[in-house]
């Protein structure tokens, strides 16, 4: 029997039961669509995070005080040295680093006239603006100069400025942070909410020297360094580590690159995507059982037809193939419809939330189609075997 004739015969049988065909196709379509939609969500989350990191600049080296890694050595090993402005100054002299920025962070209450607002305050230097790729809405950022300098300038995030000054022009105004007075020199352009760390729109920025005294801290929160040449990231990281080891006489800082963080986040979210796809494929199994049910009903209902085909000389393998072809076509048709529905759903999501980069990864398309094919084949075997085992005499005896 030619393959095309086989398909034609199966199509004819499916067309003979339109409602039943439509329902089992819908079952598979829903399964495939949900696999695709959930995969797209997971993949979207992964891309969102990766993009978020990329917007921070991918050639950053981040230095934290303290050793995060667990080693086999002394469990409460040695003294952790502070990460100081002197360390920062030493790092700034390294040739491979274009910019180095010290960061001190604390939550403080900004007060202006009767209003108070608790915001994250970041102590840093002028170069922070370029390192984080920020833009000004009004005024200027912190002035360049010696980080130790106890300046009284403050720069506000857009949201912080709006909520504290309520429409008044904040530039030149004086506000208090704890006992200290600052005058506002600039307002940042809004950057949008960030999933990572602090929301810069509601933060305030002051000179790092002032901040250390204000927060009563001796150690920086971290130092962020921008490497000149992306290819030299690892070299730069090693140099930073060597320098600090020499200065602290111990390896008591953690240095990581944006790259490593992107990679690990990407891996975590990739696993999340796979999990979501796995959960969604449960619905495919349900759809497969639906196909099996439909095919079993079909075999029972078409006993006379099967008996007739046997009487006409159809061999058992041909009958098996004919029923398998039917089941597989049900599933494949459902797979294609589900693909279309899933793609439409993701398109809709992208239209409603343009910021969220939901997208169906190519592997998911392939996997969904393969899966639907396998579902049809796998769940079609048993009914098809039942069809071939029918005794033609008994099958023909009834009308």
């Amino acid at each position: 029997m030619a393959p095309l004739d086989l398909l034609g015969f199966a199509v004819g049988a499916l067309r003979g039961h339109r409602l039943r065909t439509a329902l089992s196709v819908a079952g598979v379509a829903i399964g495939i669509a949900s696999v695709l939609a959930l995969t797209a969500l997971g993949e979207g989350a992964r891309r969102y995070i990766v993009d978020e990191f990329a917007s921070l600049g991918s050639n950053l080296v981040i230095i934290l005080p303290g050793k995060v890694e667990t080693t086999g050595g002394m469990p409460f090993g040695g003294v952790t040295h502070d990460l100081t402005l002197e360390d920062h100054a030493a790092l700034a002299r390294l040739g491979r680093l274009r910019r180095t920025v010290p960061l001190a962070v604390a939550t403080e209450t900004l007060r202006f006239q009767g209003l108070g607002r608790s915001v994250p305050v970041l102590g840093t230097t002028a170069e922070y603006l370029e390192v984080r790729r920020l833009r000004m809405a009004a005024g200027s950022f912190l002035p360049p100069g010696d980080p130790h300098r106890a300046g009284t300038e403050i720069v506000l995030g857009m949201k912080a400025a709006r909520e504290l000054f309520r429409g008044e022009n904040p530039l030149g105004q004086v506000l208090r942070v704890g006992p200290a007075r600052f005058h506002v020199v600039g307002v940042l352009a809004p950057r949008g909410p960030s999933m990572l760390g602090v929301d810069l729109d509601e933060a305030a920025f002051v000179p790092v020297g002032t901040a250390m005294r204000l927060f009563n801290r001796t150690s920086l929160f971290r130092i962020v360094a921008e490497v000149r040449i992306f290819a030299e990231m690892d070299l730069a990281k090693a140099e930073v580590l060597a320098l600090l080891r020499e200065r602290h006489r111990a390896e008591d800082v953690t240095v990581f690159t944006q790259d490593a963080m992107v990679a690990s986040f990407s891996a975590i979210l990739g696993a999340l995507t796979l999990t979501l796809a796995g959960i969604a494929s449960v619905s495919l199994v349900v759809a497969g059982v639906g196909i099996m049910n439909v095919m079993l009903v079909s075999v029972t209902e078409r006993r006379a037809e099967i008996g007739l085909l046997k009487a006409l000389g159809a061999a058992d393998p041909q009958i098996l193939l004919a029923f398998l072809a039917e089941a597989t076509m049900l599933a494949a048709l459902g797979g294609c419809l589900g693909l279309a529905a899933g793609a439409a759903g993701v398109r809709l999501l992208a239209w409603v939330y343009p910021a969220f980069p939901a997208a169906i990864p190519l592997w998911a398309v392939g996997a969904a189609l393969t899966l639907s094919f396998a579902v049809g084949l796998g769940f079609g075997v048993w009914p098809a075997r039942r069809a071939t085992r029918l005794d033609p005499v008994a099958a023909l005896a009834r009308r």
Partner: protein, 225 residues
Amino acid sequence: MIQLEGVWRTYPMGEGVVHALRDISLGIAPGEHVALIGPSGSGKSTLLHILGCLDRPTRGRYRFEGREVGALPDGERSLLRRNRIGFVFQFFHLLPRLTAQGNVELPMLFGGVPREERKARAARALASVGLLARAGHRPDQLSGGERQRTAIARAVVMDPAVLLADEPTGNLDRASAQEVMGVLEAMNRQGLTLVVVTHDPVLAGRAKRVVHLSDGALADPPAEA
């Protein structure tokens, strides 16, 4: 062409055994027109199924065209049914989703006959039963007689050696029955071996040879017939 020697067919039934056929020995020559007649339950359908390789004898020998076929594997028996044996049933057994033409093409579909040849041969077979004009109609658009003639076209399209008909007119009115028997007898005149199962003595009387079955065994004609 057909030789049965001491054929038995038994079914297990609860504790005991039902003897559907008892020690049947029968020979049918090529080109014969034989009627199998007997009351219902006499085993005539079982005999027809054994002749058609749909069922196997429990005991005894069945030779078809000189080959011992009672013990052939399923695949070979399928080929035999496809190429050498045609079936006509009381309830037609046409597939409702296919046209008359499609139904006649079915055996060729499973026989792997190419599409064009299939169409031509189906058209010839339909013409031979006088239904060429109805080739595009589905079974529910055909009368009972037309349906049975379509089934006959399907049975002979593979050019079989023997046509086995199980109550071919049992579901038809008198005029349609005449028509259908006319077609079958015309084919018999052209050399097709014809075996018709019936319980209608009038119909059986049209055959050149009548075989009586009673309680699973060959019997003499009843006195009152």
